[in-house]
Amino acid sequence: MFHRILVEEWQRALSVMSICIFLSVFLINLIRVRRMSQASITQLSKLPLEADDHA
């Protein structure tokens, strides 16, 4: 019933590029996280638990 598309030619690429960029960021991030050492993960995850005299 209604027409509401307003696109100049070069903008068509943006949506596809956006998805590509995100997927790349996500996959690289996932790979890096998987490859982090267990010791490093354990040490980082315990940081909030280190007690000061408030804890």
Binding site: R4, Q11, F22, S24, S45, L49, A51, A55
Partner: protein
């Protein structure tokens, strides 16, 4: 700070006393402002059901108090709570005292001064007319300056840290600081016309996009990411166990930060916003489901083995409920971003239910949990009453449920009634807008009741913490740490100009080129993709280097990490805003171009904005059957291009006004503004007696018109005398017309200017593509 012992292999052992005074200050401020913000919320909720609660006083009307409520809750309540949490947890996570007490104090008192300025100016009607961005330009500059002081203190503390690693909560704080600064500055770009007034540089669709890019990400980076950082610190503390999955928290951070920034256009679905942007906003909003639920599950599963404590520990009770509300809100948000769902829900109370579920449930409960955990530690004394804290929890929970249930029922009722048609979709089932208002009246009373219960809970919290602190000595935390030798820093150059980043960028460019470009460049992109992959493989083979070392070092270097976060949030903003700003406005008016306002109409528009009419009335007819049948042809892009600021609105408590001009005679508006119920029985709109008493501010118009010309509105040059004459002539005609209809008022009164503006709404000229191209060439 005193040196105790020295151990060469670990560094020098030092005792550090944390600076917890700012934590106490921000916490007390958050509770105080929170109660005020909620009190204003209860008042305006009451006004929805009882119009007399507007008190016929200009500074107590819904239109002026609603911005005060939203700003108080967002920037005063959550803002101060966020600062308290950040100052407390950052010191402990990096094992260093906050870098500068002076900067902390400037930050605290500066922020409170900003809030006081907002409390004074907003009820006076001094506003920019954009939601959550209403504060006038001098206050905006103060906000930016204080934010920079906060950032300097934060990054300075990181630079002095004695813990090499950056825990994930610190990442969330970094993202908050960078992104809020970027959003706030861009959305507040304005040109002043006086010390208390300005016009935004963006107009129409551009202003709409920038506003909701900001508005949505204010939710993301002011109300979500800092609270997630607080969750990742305080929840393990309270549960006495590490976060369920640290790996998941890393994926949560990068995915959330990267996706959130793209989702703003979901606030503008089915409007004049270009279709590709609407689709982009919808798709990225749906993608938000994954990281949001990843974070929510990570939070809840941190309570593994500690669920039994929920029966007795109010802190964990608040945290568990808060995270659950986060999960519900982030399930609902993407759902509401689906175009067809949004067509039903937008402009109704469904949106109000959604934001209050998140604000009261997520922000409010996380704040309460944090305060109950902090107070005994900050004053070295047990919480005065655990029973009172539990009562607060149940009052708050039941209050939220009553509030949101009322708003869901109201929103769905409004969606059904306002969109319903009969006779094969050619006639509205409920042509009178007020049918939807009167049908939901009882729900407005329930809403006020739910809000009142929630407020009562927070008053109990204030009493409980006051009793805990009363007579107690303030206690600063301290810890013994080994100050490690400073590792070699990476620097910005090392962060970006290295093999992993360069290869990744090349892969990304070629991948995008393959997916987006026409045949030949697309083919070349595949070649580039393969060549880069081969070069990367050969590089690794010959140099035998481990690229994971770069990533590991990045996590210990705040500067390149911050730069990387900045790039992540910038990309989304640039992709959306640059094309919209660059798009040739004159070529893309969809056959209709707005006629600039006359000086009197511009003065009337400023009165409309001052009174906050946009809080209840939209000016955007969506591409939906119900909208078009009720209000007329759908709004075209060109019909608001000269509107600085745009006034599309986000909620319809009253009808849309995009085509209001000429729909009724001048006298209709006169009587309607004087007593809305005389014209529209059942209306909840306030009376506006001061508009019939106060004079229109004509003297300010020359400056205003000059600024309008500078931001691109095609006004011809006029002398001050010509402006005054134009106003007097138009006002005289309206006053004469009113007199003939039995409504006598002097022409210089504000009601005349407002009527002239309302009668101009929807008046546009038709243009052909050739005409619009000629206009662009000029």
């Amino acid at each position: 700070m005193s040196i105790a012992t020295a151990a060469p292999e670990l560094g020098v052992k030092t005792r550090i006393e944390y600076d917890d005074a700012p934590v106490r200050q921000f916490m007390i401020a958050s509770i105080g402002w929170g109660i005020i913000g909620m009190l204003v919320g209860v008042l305006i909720a009451t006004q929805m059901g009882v119009w007399q609660a507007n008190f016929k006083t200009s500074w107590l009307t819904f239109g002026r108090l609603r911005p005060l409520h939203t700003n108080a809750v967002i920037f005063a309540f959550v803002g101060n709570m966020m600062f308290a949490g950040i100052y407390y947890s950052t010191q402990r996570l990096v094992k260093a005292r906050t870098a500068s007490r002076l900067l902390s104090q400037i930050h605290f008192w500066g922020w409170q001064a900003i809030i006081v300025a907002a409390v004074i100016t907003l009820p006076l009607g001094l506003t920019r007319g954009k939601e959550y961005a209403e504060l006038i330009w001098p206050i905006d500059i103060a906000v930016a300056l204080i934010w920079v002081i906060f950032a300097v203190n934060f990054f300075w503390t990181l630079a002095r840290r004695n813990e090499p690693s950056l825990y994930v909560a610190i990442w969330f704080y970094i993202a908050t600081i960078i992104t809020v600064a970027m959003l706030y500055i861009i959305n507040h770009l304005s040109i002043p016309t006086s010390w208390t007034h300005s016009y935004p540089i963006f107009g129409g669709v551009q202003d709409a996009l920038v506003q909701w890019w900001y508005g949505h990400n204010a939710v993301a980076f002011f109300l979500t990411t800092p609270i997630l950082g607080i969750m990742y610190y305080f929840l393990p503390k309270a549960a006495e166990r590490p976060v369920y999955s640290y790996r998941l928290s890393i994926v949560h951070f990068w995915s959330l930060v990267f996706i959130y920034i793209w989702a703003g256009p979901h606030h503008l679905l089915n409007t004049s916003l270009p279709g590709w942007l609407q689709s982009l906003g919808m798709v990225f909003s749906l993608m938000l489901w994954a990281p949001s639920w990843g974070g929510m599950l990570n939070g809840l599963l941190t309570l593994r083995g500690a669920w039994d404590k929920l029966r007795t520990d109010p802190v964990l009770k608040f945290f568990a409920a808060g995270i659950t509300f986060y999960g519900m809100a982030t399930l609902e948000g993407p759902l509401l971003s689906i175009k067809s769902v949004n067509a039903f829900s937008h402009y109704t109370d469904w949106g109000i239910a959604h934001v209050h579920g998140a604000a009261l449930g997520w922000n409010g409960f996380m704040a309460a949990g944090m305060f109950y955990w902090l107070a005994p530690r900050l004053w070295g004394r047990r919480l005065h009453s655990v029973a009172a804290a539990n009562m607060h929890f149940w009052l708050g929970t039941v209050g939220i449920l009553i509030y949101t249930a009322a708003m869901y029922v109201s929103g769905i009722t409004q969606g059904i009634m306002l969109g319903a048609t009969k006779e094969a979709g050619t006639v509205l089932s409920y042509p009178n807008f007020l049918d939807a208002v009167t049908s939901t009246r009882i729900l407005m009373h329930l809403r006020a009741l739910g809000g009142l219960m929630y407020l009562a809970g927070f008053i109990i919290l204030a009493w409980n913490i006051w009793r805990t602190a009363r007579g107690a000595q303030a206690v600063n935390g301290s810890i013994e740490v080994y100050v490690p030798e400073k590792p070699a820093t990476m620097g910005l150059g090392g962060g970006f100009f290295n093999a992993p980043v360069i290869y990744t960028t090349l892969l990304l460019v070629f991948l995008s080129g393959w997916a987006a470009l026409p045949t030949l460049p697309s083919g070349l992109s595949i070649v580039g993709l393969v060549a880069t992959a081969m070069a990367m493989s050969m590089h690794k083979e010959f140099t035998k280097t481990s690229w994971s070392a770069w990533y590991e070092r990045l996590l210990e270097n705040a500067l390149p990490f911050t730069a990387l976060t900045t790039v992540a949030v910038f990309i989304g903003g640039l992709v959306q805003i640059i094309p919209t700003v660059m798009i040739s406005t004159a070529n893309n008016v969809e056959g209709m171009r707005q006629i600039p306002y006359t000086p009197l109409e511009l003065a009337g528009r400023d009165i409309y904005i001052r009174e906050g009419c946009y809080n209840c009335h939209s000016q955007q007819i969506r591409t939906l059957v119900g909208d078009v049948l009720r209000y007329g042809d759908y709004s075209k892009l060109g019909e608001s291009i000269y509107d600085h600021p745009f006034q599309w609105g986000s909620k319809r408590t009253g009808p849309d006004l995009a085509r209001e001009g000429g729909k009724y005679p001048n006298s209709w508006h006169f009587f309607h503004m004087r007593d809305p119920r005389q014209i529209s029985p059942g209306s909840t709109m306030p009376d506006y007696p001061w508009l019939f008493r106060d004079k229109t501010e004509i003297a300010a118009l020359p400056n205003k018109l000059a600024v309008q010309r500078r931001i691109g509105v095609p006004y011809k040059m006029m002398t001050d005398a010509e402006i005054q004459e134009a106003c007097a002539t138009q006002a005289g005609l309206i006053a004469d017309d009113l007199k003939n209809a039995g409504a006598e008022v002097p022409p210089e009164r504000e009601i005349i200017a407002l009527i002239s503006y309302l009668q101009k709404l929807g008046k546009s000229e038709k243009v052909t593509p050739i005409e619009s191209m000629q206009a662009a060439a000029k």
